[in-house]
């Protein structure tokens, strides 16, 4: 009985601590009423950009999470909405990075091709000098 009370007390304490931590996190990030719409506009712009074709998997995640964010907003689940928004922001950042990586890889391949072609041409020129 005594043990059960202690456990119960500990559980309550843990719950209170978690509640406080959640409150503290929530206090760190202020809820923006227009946040969802801003993000929606941002996602639409992203979908219209070359990034969309460069990072199709990330775009799929973003679209799915946008549906969840919309639902959270409709249900007025602000915390969930903020979390999903944060996740979408991270996915957007990753999509941008994916696109940049693709571009850099392509550029690097192109440069390496140029170097190879240049080396062959230089070799031919040097042959002519012999």
């Amino acid at each position: 009985m005594k043990t059960a009370k202690i456990v119960s007390k500990n559980t309550l304490m843990a719950a209170m601590v978690m509640a406080l931590m959640t409150t503290a996190v929530s206090a760190k990030k202020k809820y923006d009423k227009e946040g969802y719409f801003k993000l929606e506009a941002k996602v639409q712009a992203l979908m219209a950009s070359p990034v969309a074709s460069a990072a199709p998997l990330e775009m799929k995640f973003i679209r799915e999470k946008m549906v969840l964010a919309k639902a959270a907003k409709a249900d007025r689940k602000r915390k969930l909405e903020m979390q999903i928004t944060e996740q979408i922001e991270a996915e957007i950042q990753i999509a941008h990075l994916r696109s940049e990586l693709n571009q850099l890889n392509a550029e690097l391949l192109n440069k390496r091709d140029q170097v190879s072609a240049g080396e062959v041409y230089l070799l031919e020129l040097k042959e002519q000098l012999k």
Partner: protein, 319 residues
């Protein structure tokens, strides 16, 4: 009721313990993934902020007693972002190195290209020089051939001129010869006429027929061929007196020395005697005497007189 509450609480606790264990495994996997990424040599200089950020997220999860799914998700995403940024910066560095290499290669190519171009230009110049020399040689040969042809043409023209001149000369010679022949014919005709018109006259010594100096070549004892061939009249004259002796007397004018004239007159008389013999007259019947300038028949002071004095008299002697 209380027992049910306890059971529920215990079940919740167990469930939370299972969930926590699952999260712990996920966290461990995340930590290992981070450690592995952190150890990758090529990414070491890059994405330092992102690495720190990912590490802080993972450490925060470890510190948290009950990390939320969202926090785990965000920690994972931070690690992904750190990896991608590291890869991006690595690619950028590679790109920069490759660009430097390409730039150096392009510079080297330009330098070698210039050398090749210079070499090709030198070769082209050399080829051009050779071609020019070849053209000059061909032109020189053509010029030489042309000069040779001109020389041949000139030579041929000169030869033609010479031939023409020679032909003209030959024509002139032929004309002269013709003229001379004409003259000779005329002379022969004249001689023939003179010989045919010869007349004899009666003298104390006998019948005399006088041959003028036209019968002989000038200052010579040679009887002209025309006279020899037309001597018929003289022969007929002589044949009219077959039994008589004949005396042939040579005479000259007074020009020149007396001995020369005497000698010339003798030679002319001998020549006539010989001619008569050739015509069949017996040599014993004929006597030839050179009288020189001793018996002129005309005045030696005039040309006409001298002409008359240069003569040969054929005398059919009276028996």
């Amino acid at each position: 009721m209380k027992a049910l509450t306890y059971i529920t609480l215990i079940a919740l606790l167990l469930l939370s313990q299972i969930g926590a264990a699952k999260k712990n495994l996920e966290l461990e996997a995340l930590r290992i993934e981070y450690e592995n990424f952190y150890q990758v040599e090529k990414y070491k200089p890059f994405a330092k902020n992102e690495k720190r950020n990912a590490k802080e997220h993972i450490e925060a999860l470890y510190k948290s007693r009950k990390p939320k799914d969202h926090e785990v998700f965000m920690a994972r995403k931070q690690l992904v972002i750190a990896k991608m940024v590291a890869e991006k910066q690595h690619l950028e560095a590679e790109l920069a190195t490759t660009e430097e290499r390409l730039e150096a290669l392009n510079l080297e190519t330009l330098r070698v290209d210039a050398q090749v171009a210079r070499l090709q230009a030198d070769r082209a110049q050399l080829l051009l020089n050779l071609q020019e020399e070849e053209v000059a040689r061909i032109e020189s040969e053509k010029q030489a051939a042309l000069e040779q042809a001109n020389e041949q043409i000139e030579q041929t023209q000169a030869e033609l001129e010479d031939t023409k001149a020679y032909a003209k000369q030959q024509e002139e010679v032929a004309n002269l010869a013709k003229q001379e022949a004409d003259l000779a014919f005329e002379e022969i005709d004249a001689l023939k006429r003179q010989l045919e018109s010869l007349a004899s006259r009666e003298t104390a010594d006998g019948m005399v027929m006088t041959l003028g100096d036209f019968v002989f070549d000038s200052a010579s004892a040679n009887i002209k061929q025309g006279a020899i061939e037309n001597f018929t009249k003289v022969i007929e004259f002589i044949d009219g007196y077959p039994d008589r002796q004949i005396r042939v007397e040579g005479h000259t004018d007074s020009s020149g020395s007396e001995s020369f004239n005497l000698n010339l007159s003798q030679k002319r008389a001998d020549a006539v005697r010989l001619l008569l013999m050739n015509y069949g007259i017996d040599g014993d019947r004929v006597e030839a005497i050179g009288m020189g300038e001793s018996l002129p028949v005309a005045d030696n002071a005039t040309a006409s007189g001298k002409s008359k004095n240069r003569r040969v008299d054929i005398i059919i002697l009276n028996n």
